[in-house]
């Protein structure tokens, strides 16, 4: 975003110099400046038509210190004659005359389609403003990173827009996208920490080529997610690319567990994304892993690690502590954190002093799996029989005792002691 804004003035300057040659300073070339009328509120009273007088009021200096400071009125507003009111054929030069790439991107967007069909989507001025185009680096601009979410929210948090365009079940997430965004790690970084480098709407959805996630050309389509997130999270996407998940994603998108290869948002979600060091995340992500790794998920919760985690405490290892967050590989891979020879180091991250004996612990040991864990199975069976056997015998003992007492009482025998000690 910022790299582009540095480049833009060079070619903009060339384009504006060319256009400026036609009618610098005047609307008509006859010596009457636009400001003479359009800078005078009193003159405009009653002349605004359906859009209102204020739309016609453009006082001198409006363009000053905007990105269009060097432009003249007639470079955008062409086709006016000297008559008043101006002829109805007046029109505005499309922004894409200069901003060709942005124009092409917008033309391909859902905003362009809806703008043409219902008019319910922003054109250039809808986001950038008309006369006060400051550029995204300017704090006053609605496209400044700290303002973007609010700007997008003008429509995307509007109940009418939500009710009209995001009513179907597959658009559920879009209904709450803006509200949730402010609670996310990205939203908090913007509003709480005031970071302009944190992702806002356009960083993931793009500024101009905005498309719904189910469209293949969308930056937030599953096929493009790693690249979109990876634009900022360079190190993470590097690890992901070489992981079992990344490999499956590249080669057809199906993993060895038969599920579609997870991309960033499968674990992190999109608009509910939270900081990875928050308990809420650490517990939630186990569930995310479990949606594909069902058996490992169940057996994990049979262990001390899993039980502590299930109680809602971030005090014991979760999936990523052993398998890494993005660089997970099968145990047969020598580079894997759970490869036999790497286990002492992996377990040792929490258990200082872990040795070759220690790592023979079964972090997914399943007592119900007799063939894979016979020792655990027999231990479990012995303990269960001991428990069931002991309790059965004595519960029978207690039950029969109670029955006998009841029978004896019904036959007239009272309780043994009835009087208190004097």
């Amino acid at each position: 975003m910022f790299a582009r804004s540095l480049v833009r003035p060079a070619w903009l300057a060339a384009a504006t110099a060319f256009l400026a040659a036609a009618g610098a300073g005047t609307a008509t070339g006859q010596g009457i400046t636009c400001e003479k009328c359009h800078g005078n509120r009193d003159f405009l009273v009653g002349k605004g038509g359906p859009q209102g007088d204020s739309a016609l009021y453009v006082p001198a200096g409006t363009l000053q210190d905007t990105r269009h400071a060097s432009l003249r009125c007639a470079q955008c507003h062409v086709g006016y004659d000297a008559g008043y009111p101006h002829r109805a054929t007046s029109r505005v030069v499309p922004c894409s005359t200069c901003h060709a790439a942005e124009g092409r991107d917008w033309d391909a967007s859902i905003h362009a389609a809806n703008s043409a069909s219902t008019g319910d989507a922003p054109t250039c001025v809808g986001c950038h403003g008309s006369h006060t185009v400051y550029g995204a680096a300017d704090r006053r601009s609605p496209t400044h990173p700290l303002n973007v979410a609010m700007m997008c929210g003008r429509c995307h948090a509007d109940p009418r827009i939500i009710g009209t365009y995001f009513a179907t079940a597959d658009k559920t997430r879009a209904r709450t996208a803006v509200a949730h965004f402010y609670k996310t790690v990205h939203g908090n970084a913007l509003t709480g920490a005031g970071l302009v480098v944190s992702a806002t709407c356009n960083d993931c959805h793009r500024a101009h080529k905005v498309l719904p996630a189910d469209s293949t050309g969308s930056s937030v389509n599953r096929a493009n997610i790693p690249a979109t997130c990876g634009a900022c999270h360079v190190g993470v996407v590097e690890a992901y690319d070489s992981s079992a998940h990344g490999a499956a994603y590249r080669t057809g998108g199906v993993t060895t567990t038969g599920h579609s290869a997870p991309v960033c948002v499968d674990c992190h979600s999109a608009h509910e994304i939270v900081r990875a060091d928050q308990p809420q995340w650490l517990l939630g992500v186990v569930q995310e892993c479990g949606t594909c790794h069902e058996r490992l998920y169940e057996t994990y919760f049979e262990t001390y690690h899993g039980k502590v985690t299930r109680l809602g405490f971030n005090l014991a290892a979760t999936c990523s502590d052993c398998h890494t967050a993005h660089n997970m590989r099968p145990a047969s891979d020598t580079r894997s954190s759970v490869y036999a020879e790497n286990l002492v180091a992996t377990c040792g991250r929490c258990h200082s002093g872990a040795n070759a004996n220690f790592v023979r612990y079964q972090p997914h040991g399943d007592p119900k799996d007799r063939t894979k864990y016979p020792l655990l199975f027999w231990s479990w069976l012995f303990m269960t029989l001991l428990l069931v056997g002991t309790m059965s015998f004595f519960l029978l003992h207690t039950f029969l005792w109670l029955v006998r007492i009841t029978i004896n009482r019904l036959r007239g025998g009272g309780p043994a002691h009835t009087e208190a000690q004097p």
Binding site: V308, L311, P415, H417
Partner: protein
């Protein structure tokens, strides 16, 4: 008819007779306090999936606090276990009649009479005979005693493994901790289930004793209680003329109230925890 005393050991005609020594009463209090602490903090971990687990762990102050309480109670457990072993060793060494600890009516060791008593008890349940008459310790009390012995040894040893896995991995393979986890949890579940249902019923909740028997706290019971619960011992001592030596004063008011509080608190907690276990097993 005068009102029925709350404490079953107060019922009937006197005088009071000593049944438990101060050390035995203190040991039992230590068992109660540590066991309640252990199960209250361990149960939410064992049944982490249960609907109540997170709430219970929050009540005890969070997982970190639960871990500390659990380990503190483990230390109390190891302490009373060592004290008990030490005390019986001392008594055996000093006693003029050592055999009486291992055999005979005053011994806690199960003997042929206990087997006959179990059979006689079931006959009585089924209406085919008289209720067996017990000596100083009934077979139920002997089972409870051995159960605590076995339980502390098994749960304590497996708990130590899980407390210091890095240390024990110097001599044991890692899967020993998987086995220790199973043994620790299931044996504790057995202990909890047994004590909070069977022991509670046998000792406190059966109609003859309901709602509570404080003899283990106060150390003394009426002669009528002894004739009812331990008739053979009573008759044996009367015949030997040693009954008078056991005569005890009534417990002080403060001692009685403390006994009542500890007794009812542990009874209530136990029944509550059993309900939680059943709830977790049903879901």
């Amino acid at each position: 008819m005068t009102p029925r005393a709350l404490n079953a050991a107060d019922r009937g005609a006197g005088p009071y007779l000593w049944r438990f020594t101060p050390l035995q009463r203190a040991l039992h209090a230590a068992v109660i306090v540590s066991f309640c602490g252990l199960v209250t903090t361990g149960l939410p971990l064992h049944f982490a999936h249960a609907a109540w687990a997170r709430a219970l762990i929050r009540v005890v102050g969070g997982l970190h606090a639960a871990g500390l309480i659990h380990r503190a109670c483990a230390i109390i457990t190891f302490g009373y276990f060592a004290l008990y072993i030490g005390s019986i060793t001392y008594r055996i060494m000093r006693s003029s009649n050592r055999m009486s600890f291992f055999w005979g009516p005053d011994s806690m060791v199960p003997q042929p009479k206990d087997v006959r008593d179990v059979i006689q008890m079931f006959k009585w349940f089924l209406g085919r005979g008289e209720q067996p008459r017990f000596d100083r310790f009934s077979y139920m009390e002997k089972f409870d005693h051995l159960g605590v012995f076995w339980g502390v040894a098994v749960i304590g040893a497996s708990g130590l493994l899980l407390w210091f896995p890095e240390f024990f991995a110097k001599i044991l393979p890692g899967w020993a901790f998987n086995v220790a986890t199973i043994i620790h949890g299931d044996e504790a579940l057995l202990a909890l289930s047994f004590i909070f249902t069977i022991h509670f019923f046998n000792v406190h909740l059966r109609p003859e004793k309901f709602p509570i028997d404080l003899v283990i706290f106060t150390g003394r019971a009426t002669a009528a209680y002894m004739q009812e619960e331990h008739p053979l011992e009573y008759e044996r001592r009367r015949a030997a003329g040693t009954l008078d030596a056991l005569t005890a004063p009534p417990i002080s008011r403060a001692g009685y109230l403390w006994s009542l509080v500890l007794g009812f608190a542990s009874l209530g907690l136990g029944v509550f925890l059993v309900i939680l276990v059943i709830w977790a097993l049903l879901h």
